[in-house]
């Protein structure tokens, strides 16, 4: 089957709790690695997509800034900014631009040195007080982005009887995979006792329910489906949905746009859920993957936590999930979407060593973005070419 395009190279750089380096340096290093991985030269790149990346500033023109740094001339660029899912959306847009003949080889890059710069804390970032919409969320004292996730978790527990242990099971699954990934920043196992005694941040979410705060950069090269790259991974399906900016505008926190993007991307790929051998799902907080596996159809509504608690997502399980350790145990420099894709590509290629899934067949990548509990959603379906 001919895909929408192909991911022909991937790279990352600076994944650490404190790189001590500017984000633009990390971006350039990841970009060069991805270009080399694709068997290309920098001069072959004629399209560049960069979401605003923390201190990749001045971020008013982040893609032009990075193009300048790398010495690129672009016939196409994209700075779509929809939260952590941005790099996934940009990969979809890149494939479309290549199909339309606007460019031939696109780099999608994300980088942040937010840990080095101490820009984030679990209590939430201070959002701009003069921002009209945000000021009406902020007046309550709800911290962002953890607050909307905590409200979703509390509602999920009330509505379905899910438990703190099920939330912790998501982190335990990630930690078990991270133990097999030399690049993961938190590779130690998480015991049930340790999870239960972790400090409460925003009830019912504890510190172990929160993603890491790290530096890091990721880059992807997108080319046409028939580019003939020997290690290309086919983009079989892509869908995006953007529904709310503010949590005040959510209809139901437990029904995200993934209910639509998942089936739409699978339909385009000619696949069903039964074909999926690897799930890469955004996990900024433990409640998010629980809701997303329900919305995607991997679990019945209310039963997402059971999927994790019964070990189906962990090493040896029937639905290997976030095999690099996810944002909870691998790294989380902000827009984690790009790292979800990197792992999917490496798994499909069979390059992930001890954590290699025997038959990744088709990988589904689900990204979520924005402070309104995933107000932006995108699904990418990847498979061997």
């Amino acid at each position: 089957m001919k895909g929408l395009g192909a991911i022909t190279g991937v790279g990352d750089a600076g994944i650490s709790f404190r790189s001590g380096r500017p984000a633009i340096d990390l971006a350039a290093e990841a970009a060069l690695e991805a270009v080399a991985d694709a068997g290309l030269q920098l001069g072959d790149i004629d399209g560049l997509a960069v979401g605003k990346g923390g201190d990749l500033v001045p971020a008013d023109r982040p893609s032009v800034e990075l193009a300048d740094y790398l010495g690129l001339t672009l016939t196409w660029t994209d700075t779509t900014l929809v939260g952590g899912v941005s790099p996934i959306v940009q990969i979809g847009h890149a494939a479309e631009a290549i199909s339309a003949g606007r460019c031939r080889r696109v780099l999608v890059v994300y980088a942040s040195a937010q840990a080095t710069n101490r820009e984030r804390s679990l209590g939430g970032q201070v959002r701009r007080p003069n921002h009209h919409v945000v000021s009406f969320e902020r007046s309550s004292g709800l911290p962002f982005p953890i607050g909307p996730n905590a409200l979703a978790a509390a509602r999920h527990m009330w509505q379905y009887g899910s438990t703190s242990e099920q939330l912790s099971a998501v982190a335990q699954s990630d930690r078990a995979w991270a133990a097999l990934n030399p690049a993961a920043l938190r590779p130690t196992p998480l015991s049930t006792e340790e999870a239960a005694s972790s400090p409460m941040i925003c009830a019912p979410l504890r510190k172990v329910d929160c993603c890491l705060i790290s530096d890091g950069a990721g880059a992807v090269v997108v080319e046409a489906a028939a580019a003939g790259a020997p290690r290309g991974v086919s983009i079989r399906g892509f869908a995006e949905l953007h529904r709310q900016y503010s949590i005040l505008s959510t209809a139901d926190l437990l029904t995200t746009g993934a209910c639509w993007t998942g089936p739409a991307a699978l339909r385009q790929a000619g696949c069903t859920l039964a074909d999926i051998g690897l799930l890469q799902v955004y996990d900024a907080f433990t409640i998010l993957p629980i809701v997303l596996v329900e919305n995607l159809g991997f679990a019945e509504p209310g039963c997402g936590g059971v999927l994790f608690a019964e070990g189906h997502t962990a090493p040896g399980g029937r639905l290997p999930t976030n095999t690099q350790g996810g944002g909870l145990a691998h790294c989380h420099p902000g827009f984690y979407g790009v790292f979800l894709v990197l792992e999917a590509v490496r798994q499909v290629r069979g390059e992930t060593g001890a954590r290699q899934v025997p038959d990744p067949r088709v990988a589904l990548v689900q990204g979520a973005g924005g402070g309104a509990f995933g107000g932006s959603q995108a699904t990418l379906v990847l498979a061997a070419e």
Partner: protein
């Protein structure tokens, strides 16, 4: 929180054409396109979800821990509000605002309708909305 404890109306926006409410306040009604006007009122609704904040941002750190609820109002809008604590999901609530300290913007505040500590506010709210 330093407050006089008086529950005051919340200034939501209301469409001058179709009467639909908006929160956050929008200048234009997204249902019919007419303009809106400020409509200070007390709201009733149900607590959709409730969280207790232990680790707050710098601005609110001194007040932690405190409780925040996402309230589904019968007026068809959702409001994030502080609570007196102990509010249960699904509870029927009354919602207004509290002035806190020197802040220019009052904080939306929701309490359970059967919370006896706020019995006085009910009559006042009904009279105001009438």
């Amino acid at each position: 929180m330093s407050t006089d404890g008086m529950l005051r109306p919340i200034e939501v926006a209301r469409c001058v054409g179709c009467g639909r409410y908006s929160w956050y306040p929008r200048a234009i009604c997204t249902a019919c396109g007419e303009s809106t006007a400020p409509s200070p009122r007390y709201l009733t609704g149900q607590a959709y979800s409730v969280t207790e904040v232990f680790s707050a941002s710098t601005e609110f750190a001194a007040q932690a821990p405190y409780e925040v609820a996402l309230v589904d109002c019968t007026a068809g809008i959702r409001v994030l509000a502080r609570t007196p604590g102990g509010l249960r999901i699904g509870a029927d609530v009354m919602l207004g605002t509290l002035s806190v300290g020197e802040r220019s913007n009052p904080i939306p505040f929701a309490h359970a309708i059967d919370d006896r500590r706020y019995a006085d506010s009910h009559g006042k709210a009904i009279r105001h909305n009438d």
